[in-house]
């Protein structure tokens, strides 16, 4: 039976596979992915390999420079801060708090934003007009400003700042989902599904959502970098995580007092934030280009 395997002769990669192939061709984005993978591993496993806790003080070694400095000591790889806490331990725990908190709040914002966005995109008439008006007004206010305002109302603290940033991120997700759903809703495959008698919910989950997932992932990476920057900014302003907590932004504002004698206590936590955001942006950018190339093919 020569014809039975007719379709198997040529290999058709799945859409995800195609995106991955496109993504791989961009070496810088791939490097970003490795870096991001390193951070994820660090966040998940790092604390188990550390000899010191983030709050443990070593009064013998106060303001010790990093190990690569002439006066440094290898037992404290990144040196210590003003009250003898090991900076490496603090940076790793800080990454855990900052990255973990941002990850969960982006997930939450995405869930809520998508549901409201899908609703707004599929509704018509006055209701849609009111939702859109309100949203557009909120979209104009930058997320950090919104977060500062919400923190001012709720009071300071890591949990409150997380809520604030979640609330501030939601409008962006609503906006993108609404636009996307509105665009897809007018396409013919949706009309075909409607003619088959599918309900709005079924159309959304079975027809539109699979086409939207990748856009959502790109949007989520962008939101993740914004969330990390915002959470550490709030921490830095003493509005988010409070002082003894090893949140990266709060660590930076702690280190201000010893900035002149211990510049490493400012540069290392900041560099951690920077590398994290950079790798996320690289992955997000690479993913977006890969998707665009795939669709254009």
């Amino acid at each position: 039976m020569p014809k039975s395997s007719f379709y198997d002769e040529e290999f058709y990669p799945s859409p995800v596979r195609q995106t991955w192939n496109e993504f791989q061709r961009n070496h810088i984005a791939l490097a970003g992915l490795w870096c991001l993978g390193f951070f994820v591993l660090l966040v998940l496993l790092g604390p188990w390999f550390l000899p010191f806790g983030p709050l443990a003080q070593n009064t013998e070694a106060i303001l010790l420079p990093p190990a690569w400095d002439a006066n440094g000591d290898v037992s404290h790889l990144f040196g210590t801060d003003g009250i003898g806490r090991d900076l490496l331990a603090r940076v790793v725990h800080g990454c855990q708090i900052t990255f973990g908190a941002s990850f969960f709040l982006v997930l939450l914002a995405m869930l809520v934003g998508c549901s409201i966005g899908a609703y707004a995109g599929m509704s018509r008439g006055l209701r849609a007009s009111i939702i859109n008006h309100l949203l557009d007004a909120i979209m104009a206010i930058p997320t950090l400003l919104l977060a500062i305002i919400i923190v001012a109302i709720l009071g300071t603290g890591l949990m409150n700042s997380m809520w604030a940033i979640t609330l501030a991120l939601i409008p962006q997700f609503i906006h993108h989902t609404r636009d996307m759903v509105g665009r897809e809703y007018r396409k013919e495959y949706v009309t075909a599904a409607r003619l088959d008698g599918a309900s709005d919910a079924r159309i959304f989950f079975h027809s539109i959502l699979p086409n939207m997932i990748e856009m959502l992932v790109v949007q989520a990476t962008m939101a993740l970098s914004v969330a990390i920057l915002d959470i550490s900014a709030l921490g830095f302003l003493n509005l988010g995580a409070q002082s003894p907590s090893p949140e990266l932004g709060a660590m930076l504002s702690d280190a201000l007092e010893t900035a002149y004698v211990a510049p490493w206590s400012i540069s290392l936590p900041g560099a951690a934030i920077f590398l994290m955001v950079l790798s996320i942006n690289l992955v997000g950018d690479g993913l977006r280009t890969a998707l665009k190339n795939r669709v254009n093919q």
Binding site: H133, D136, L145, I266, S267, G270, F274, N281
Partner: protein
């Protein structure tokens, strides 16, 4: 156009109304006595409380109270700050121009540097120029603005010692407040060492402006680059090449306008991001602007000031966005197709 103008003004009106409602409601949500939160007067006697209740119409229900609050807000009666007992409106009028000044200069710098770089990258798409500009802009885009400011202070103020690290102008000079914009004030002021003071103020401006504009500049580069690439790949550009025009002619006559106009609203939106970043940078550089003032208010739980600052900053952001949108509308014909108001 008139319909559109109406829609925009409608949006502006309702947004401001919602902001006012929010700020009025906040007075009741904040901990403490709503009367104190509204007026900023620590209530000392029963008599005074009665007077204030009359003034804010608190006994006549929520709607009447809000109406009264709206009237007071529009006439500039924003209450007193709890900590300093200064009128909040006067405080905001004094501090807001400082933030605006900083943001405007940073905006100007990032547009002047960002747009040419973005165009250069877009025209050399997929070549080394493009790659290097794109990577540098990605680095700038990922910098946390407060860390950047701290690094700049570490390098230029502490190590090198050439640039001042706080304030708008050295304390030895006394500049009478006139418009709130430092450079304008200095030029207006009647002092003999004008040139020296001006140089000093410019020195104070360098670091805050630099730390603000690096982030914004990289955003501008990315926006411009994307738009230039899209335009240069379109059919009318190919037609222009087919006509026999040179690269420069094609770009200046056909590409430039079409690439820059559609991104104008997004570029203008950067101003609001800048204003937020300015609030952080102000705290670091002790720049006496609205951000510093509001942070102090938040630390000291000065609720009338938080309310007033929130109202002022968000109203400013909304007004700027809508004005820019209207402006774009008048000069960019393609956007006229889209009727629904959208910020």
């Amino acid at each position: 156009m008139l319909v559109y103008l109406g829609r925009r003004l409608n949006l502006l009106f309702f947004t401001l109304l919602i902001l006012c409602i929010a700020s009025y409601t906040l007075a009741f949500l904040f901990p403490g006595d709503p009367l104190t939160n509204l007026s900023g007067n620590p209530i000392s006697s029963e008599d005074q409380a009665q007077q204030l209740r009359m003034m804010y119409a608190l006994d006549d229900g929520y709607i009447a109270g809000f109406w009264q609050y709206l009237k007071l807000t529009l006439s500039g009666e924003w209450g007193l700050s709890l900590t300093s007992q200064n009128p909040i409106f006067a405080d905001i009028c004094q501090f807001l121009p400082a933030s605006l000044e900083l943001s405007l200069y940073a905006m100007a710098v990032s547009l002047l540097v960002g747009i040419p770089l973005g165009i250069a990258a877009g025209l050399n798409h997929r070549r080394y120029t493009d790659m290097s500009i794109l990577s540098v802009s990605l680095v700038g885009f990922s910098m946390p603005v407060f860390w950047l400011a701290l690094l700049l202070i570490l390098i230029f103020s502490l190590q090198w010692g050439g640039l001042p690290m706080s304030g708008r102008v050295s304390l030895i000079y006394e500049i009478p407040q006139y418009s709130g914009f430092m450079l304008v004030d200095i030029l207006q002021a009647d002092i003999d060492n004008k040139k020296q003071v001006l140089m000093d103020a410019l020195h104070h401006l360098i670091l805050p402006t630099l730390s603000l504009s690096i982030v914004t500049c990289s955003l501008v580069v990315r926006l411009t680059r994307r738009s230039v690439i899209n335009v240069m790949a379109s059919d009318y550009i190919k037609a222009a090449y087919a006509k026999g025009l040179s690269r420069t002619q094609v770009f200046w006559h056909h590409g430039m306008k079409n690439a820059l106009l559609p991104i104008m609203p997004q570029l203008a939106m950067q101003f609001t991001v800048l204003l937020t970043n300015a609030m952080i940078v102000e705290v670091i550089f002790s720049w006496p602007g609205i951000g510093e003032w509001m942070m102090q208010a938040i630390y000291q739980r000065d609720f009338p000031a938080i309310r007033g600052g929130m109202l002022a900053v968000s109203a400013l952001v909304v007004i700027v966005t809508i004005c820019v949108d209207l402006l774009i509308r008048t000069i960019y014909p393609l956007s006229k197709k889209q009727l629904h108001a959208q910020v």
